[in-house]
C-alpha cells in the first residue's frame, strides 16, 4: 500500500546548504538522473550563506611582507617565487586545532581536495576577492599558520552558496523547497527513505529512495547565545539518532569569541584576521596573557575561554560586565569599508555602534557543532566503531562527523569540509546508484505513524508553551554545558534536560491549522533539541579531560592515555544514550600528539 | 500598493500621459473641423474657448509641463549615473513644474476673467 503511494527518487538529499547542494550537483553531473533535494528552507536561505570570513586552501597566492611579523601586511607572491604554504602545513594546523582528535586520514583528504574545490568554485562563477594580479585573495585566520583563507569580502558563504545552488539547478536537480523532513527509515541497516511534511500544505509524505543523504547543518540552537540561524536545530542528528544511527563527539561545541553582545550574531573572525584587537574593561589586550604568540589569532576555543575568564574575573564591559571590546578603529575607515563592510553594517544595525568610530561589545557565542553523524571518508554513514555501513545512508557538512575537526574546528575549515565531503559524497552516491542500488521496500506505514504523532501534538491540550521549554533548555545548556564545564554542572544539565523532556509531553502547539504551520515545526524542532542535548551532556559528563572546545575545570588537562578516542552515542533500549568509543586515526610517524600551545 | 516618491512620479506621469493622449485625439478632431470649411472651424473653436475650457487649458498646461519635466528627468537617468539623486530630482521636477504652471497659467487665467466679464 504505502510503498506504492510514496514519492520515489533515486537519491534524496536532505538539506540544501553547501554540503547537500554539492552532493546533488555532483551526483547529477555523474549521470544520476533523478536527484531530489528536500530543504525546510528555500535552498538559498541555508545557513551556509551566513558564513563570512573565508574558506581554507593552501593556494599560495599571498604571503606576509618580509620582516613585518605575524600580524603585518600581506602581499601577493610574485610569479615564480617560493610558496609559503602547503597542504602539509594546512594539515598540521588542522590536526593541532583539533587537539589531535581529528582523524588524520580524513584531514589529509580535506587539505588536498581543498585546492581543487576552490578552483572549481572559481570556475563555476564564484566571485572571490582578488590580488592585484588577479589571483584569489587570501587572508589570515585563527589557528592557521599561513594566510590561506580564500574570501569574497565578508560574504564568502553567500557567494559559495549561490554559486553551488545555481550549478545544481543547471544540472537539473529537483528541489523540494520548504519540505520538513521528520523521519528517516532505516531497516536492517539499509536506508529506505524519509518522511517529510510539505510545509505549504501540511501534508505528510513518505519519500522512498535508493540513497538518502543528510546535510542538515549544525545544532548551535541548543544554546542561548548563538551565531546560528533559527533553522540550525540539529534536526538531522536527532532524526538519525532516533532512527538508530549513532552520533559521534557530540560534546564538542565551538564557541566563537566574537558574537555581538546579547544577540550572538557573528562578527566574523576576519575582524581579527584583518588585525582587530580584543580589549577588556581596562583597555588591555588581554590575549597577551593567554597566547602571547598568536594573540587574537589563536584558535577559537582558546580565545573564547580567555574572554570568558576575563568576564568571570570581573574585567568585562557593559552594564552586566558580560562583554569584551572588539576594537577595529585602528584599521581605518578604508580597510573596514573594503574588507569588512557587512560586519560594519551588522554592528550598526544590531548594536548601534559604528566600528570605525567605537569599539564593538562582543561575547562568546555558540557557533559550530563538531560532532554529528559519523561517516567514512566518502560520506557513508557508519553504524559502529568498526565502520559497518548503513547501506545507502550518507551524510556530509556540519551534520556529519568525519571527523576532520576533532575537538575544535579552525575557522574556514568548515565551509571547506561541507564542500569537500559534500562533493565526495556526491561521487560516492553516483557510484552506489550506478552499481545497481535497489529501492528497498518499507515495512508498515511510516507516514501514517508520523501523521498520528503530529495529530497527537496538535490535540495535546497541554499547558506548557513550547518556547518556555526551549528557553529553559538553552539556559541550562549555556550555563552548565557551555565554555567551562565540570561534573556538578553537567549533572545538573542532565537532570534539567531530562525534566524538560518530560515537560515537553505536556507542551501545547498554539496553531492548529494545516497550512504553513511553523508553530508545529518549532515544536518538532524543540523535540529534536531535547533529544540531542541529552547526548551532548552525557558525552561531556563522561569525558573526564579537557580537549579543544571541551573544557572541564575539574579535569583541566588533556588526557591522551584515556581519552584519545571518539565518543559514539547510540539510543539504547530505555531511550537513553549508550556510549561507546572509537579510535582516532593518527599517523604516528608524521603527526604524533603534542602539547597544543599558541 | 507601494507608495513612494518613485511610485507617485510614475503614477502622475502615466496619468498625465494618458490624459494627454485623450486630449490629443480630441484636439485633432476639433482642429480637423477645418476640413469642413472656415465657418465650421470658427464655430467649433468658439465653442471650446469658453472660460470653462480655458480653465481646462490650465490643467492641460500643468499636465504637459509635469509630464515633460518628468520625461526629461527619466532621460537624464538613462544617460547619466544619477540614481542616487532620484528623490531630489523628483522634488526639483515638482518645484519647476509649479513655477512654470503658475507663470503660464496666470495670463490664461487673466484672459479668462476678461472674457467672462
Amino acid at each position: 500500500m504505502t510503498n506504492s503511494d510514496a514519492i520515489t527518487h533515486d537519491v534524496i538529499i536532505v538539506g540544501a546548504g553547501l554540503a547537500g547542494s554539492w552532493a546533488a550537483m555532483i551526483a547529477a553531473e555523474q549521470g544520476v538522473r533523478d536527484v531530489a533535494v528536500l530543504s525546510k528552507l528555500h535552498p538559498l536561505r541555508s545557513h551556509s550563506g551566513a558564513a563570512q570570513g573565508g574558506i581554507a586552501a593552501a593556494l599560495n597566492n599571498v604571503r606576509p611582507v618580509a620582516g613585518t611579523g605575524p600580524r603585518g601586511p600581506l602581499e601577493q607572491i610574485p610569479e615564480g617565487e617560493e610558496p609559503v604554504d602547503s597542504p602539509e602545513l594546512h594539515m598540521f594546523d588542522t590536526i593541532k586545532g583539533s587537539d589531535w582528535l581529528g582523524d588524520q586520514d580524513a584531514i589529509e583528504i580535506l587539505v588536498n581536495d581543498a585546492i581543487d574545490v576552490i578552483y572549481q568554485y572559481e570556475h563555476m562563477g564564484c566571485v572571490f576577492s582578488r590580488t592585484p594580479d588577479g589571483r584569489i585573495a587570501q587572508r589570515r585566520f585563527g589557528g592557521h599558520s599561513a594566510p590561506r583563507a580564500n574570501f569574497a569580502a565578508d560574504w564568502t558563504g553567500h557567494v559559495l552558496l549561490h554559486t553551488i545552488h545555481e550549478q545544481a539547478l543547471k544540472h537539473g536537480v529537483k528541489f523540494y523547497s520548504e519540505w520538513y523532513v521528520m523521519d528517516v527509515i532505516i531497516e536492517d541497516n539499509i536506508v529506505r527513505g524519509v518522511v517529510a511534511i510539505n510545509i505549504l500544505t501540511g501534508e505528510v509524505h513518505l519519500l522512498r529512495a535508493k540513497a538518502v543523504m543528510f546535510a542538515t547543518g549544525g545544532y548551535g540552537r541548543a544554546f542561548k547565545i548563538t551565531s546560528n540561524a533559527f533553522a540550525n536545530t540539529g534536526d538531522g542528528v536527532a532524526i538519525a539518532y532516533d532512527a538508530g544511527a549513532p552520533l559521534m563527539d557530540m560534546e564538542f561545541v565551538q564557541f566563537h569569541p566574537t558574537g555581538l553582545y546579547r544577540h550572538g550574531i557573528l562578527m566574523s573572525e576576519a575582524c581579527r584576521g584583518e588585525g582587530g584587537y580584543l580589549l577588556n574593561k581596562d583597555g588591555e589586550r588581554f590575549m597577551e596573557k593567554y597566547a602571547p604568540d598568536k594573540m587574537e589569532l589563536a584558535p577559537r576555543d582558546l580565545v573564547s575561554r580567555s574572554e570568558q575568564r576575563e568576564i568571570d574575573e570581573g574585567r568585562g564591559v557593559m552594564e552586566d560586565g558580560q562583554a569584551i571590546w572588539l576594537d577595529l578603529r585602528h584599521l581605518g575607515r578604508e580597510k573596514i569599508m573594503e574588507r569588512l563592510p557587512q560586519v560594519r553594517e551588522l554592528a550598526i544595525d544590531f548594536a548601534g555602534v559604528d566600528p570605525i568610530e567605537e569599539p564593538v561589545p562582543i561575547q562568546p557565542t555558540a557557533h559550530y557543532s563538531m560532532g554529528g553523524i559519523p561517516t567514512d571518508n566518502n560520506g557513508q554513514v557508519i553504524a559502529d566503531a568498526q565502520g559497518t555501513p548503513i547501506v545507502g545512508f550518507y551524510a556530509a557538512g556540519e551534520v556529519a562527523c568525519v571527523s576532520v575537526h576533532g575537538a575544535n574546528r579552525l575557522g574556514t575549515n568548515s565551509l571547506l569540509e561541507a564542500s569537500v565531503f559534500g562533493r565526495r559524497a556526491g561521487y560516492a552516491i553516483a557510484e552506489f546508484i550506478k552499481n545497481g542500488a535497489k529501492l528497498h521496500p518499507v515495512t508498515g506505514d511510516p507516514a501514517e505513524r508520523n501523521r498520528r504523532m503530529i495529530q497527537e501534538m496538535l490535540d495535546n491540550p497541554g499547558k506548557e508553551l513550547v518556547e518556555d521549554i526551549a528557553q529553559e533548555l538553552k539556559a541550562t545548556m549555556t550555563a552548565n554545558c557551555g565554555i567551562f564545564r565540570d561534573d556538578e554542572k553537567l549533572k545538573r544539565a542532565l537532570k534539567d534536560v531530562r525534566e524538560l523532556q518530560e515537560r515537553f509531553k505536556h507542551a501545547r502547539v498554539m496553531d492548529k491549522s494545516r497550512r504553513f504551520n511553523t508553530d508545529l515545526l518549532a515544536a518538532l524542532e524543540t523535540k529534536h533539541l531535547l533529544t540531542f542535548s541529552e547526548v551532548i551532556v552525557t558525552g561531556a559528563l563522561n569525558r573526564t579531560e579537557s580537549r579543544g572546545a571541551h573544557a572541564r575545570t575539574d579535569y583541566p588537562k588533556r588526557d591522551d592515555e584515556n581519552w584519545l578516542k571518539h565518543t559514539l552515542a547510540r539510543k539504547g533500549e530505555d531511550g537513553r544514550p549508550e556510549l561507546s568509543y572509537k579510535d582516532v586515526t593518527i599517523f604516528w610517524d608524521r603527526f604524533p600528539p603534542q602539547e597544543r600551545k599558541y | 500598493m507601494y507608495k513612494t516618491t518613485g511610485f507617485i512620479s510614475f503614477f502622475l506621469r502615466r496619468l498625465t500621459g494618458v490624459a494627454l493622449v485623450i486630449y490629443l485625439f480630441l484636439h485633432i478632431l476639433v482642429i480637423g473641423s477645418v476640413n469642413a470649411g472656415p465657418e465650421a472651424f470658427n464655430a467649433r473653436l468658439n465653442a471650446v474657448q469658453t472660460p470653462i475650457f480655458k480653465l481646462a487649458e490650465i490643467a492641460l498646461l500643468a499636465a504637459v509641463v509635469y509630464h515633460a519635466l518628468d520625461g526629461i528627468r527619466l532621460l537624464i537617468v538613462h544617460y547619466f549615473d544619477v540614481t542616487e539623486y532620484r528623490k531630489s530630482m523628483f522634488y526639483a521636477v515638482i518645484v519647476v513644474a509649479t513655477i512654470l504652471v503658475i507663470a503660464g497659467g496666470v495670463p490664461i487665467f487673466l484672459f479668462m476673467l476678461e472674457t467672462a466679464s
Binding site: - | R14, V21, I28, G32, L61, A68
Partner: protein, 108 residues
C-alpha cells in the same frame, strides 16, 4: 526594443516642438480663429513644422498608450495585435491631421 527607442526619440523631438507649439498657439492673443492661424500657416515652413510635430506626437502618444496597455498582464500576450492597431490609428490620424494642416489655405 524599438518601442522604447521610438518613445525616447519622439520625447526629445517633442521637447522642442511642443514648446514652440505651446508658445505660438496658446499664448497671446489667446483667442484663436481661422484667420489668425492662417496668418502663420501661410508660411510653408510652419506647415512643415506642424506636420513634423504631428508625426512625433502621434508616435509618442501611440507608443505611450501601447506601453500603458501592455503593462497589464492580460493585454501582454496581445502585443502584436495592439501594435498593429496602434499603427493603423497612427496612419489614419496622421493623414487626417495632415489634411487639416493643409486645409488652412486662404479662401479661394
Amino acid at each position: 526594443m524599438r518601442v522604447f527607442q521610438m518613445q525616447r526619440i519622439s520625447a526629445i523631438a517633442l521637447l522642442i516642438f511642443l514648446t514652440i507649439h505651446m508658445i505660438v498657439v496658446h499664448y497671446p492673443p489667446f483667442h484663436i480663429n481661422f484667420d489668425n492661424i492662417l496668418v502663420r500657416l501661410q508660411n510653408p515652413v510652419w506647415k512643415a513644422i506642424d506636420i513634423a510635430f504631428l508625426f512625433f506626437v502621434l508616435i509618442h502618444a501611440l507608443t505611450g498608450a501601447y506601453v500603458v496597455i501592455t503593462d497589464f498582464e492580460r493585454a501582454f500576450d496581445y502585443r502584436k495585435a495592439l501594435a498593429w492597431i496602434a499603427v493603423v490609428i497612427g496612419v489614419v490620424a496622421f493623414i487626417y491631421g495632415s489634411m487639416t494642416v493643409w486645409a488652412f489655405q486662404p479662401p479661394a
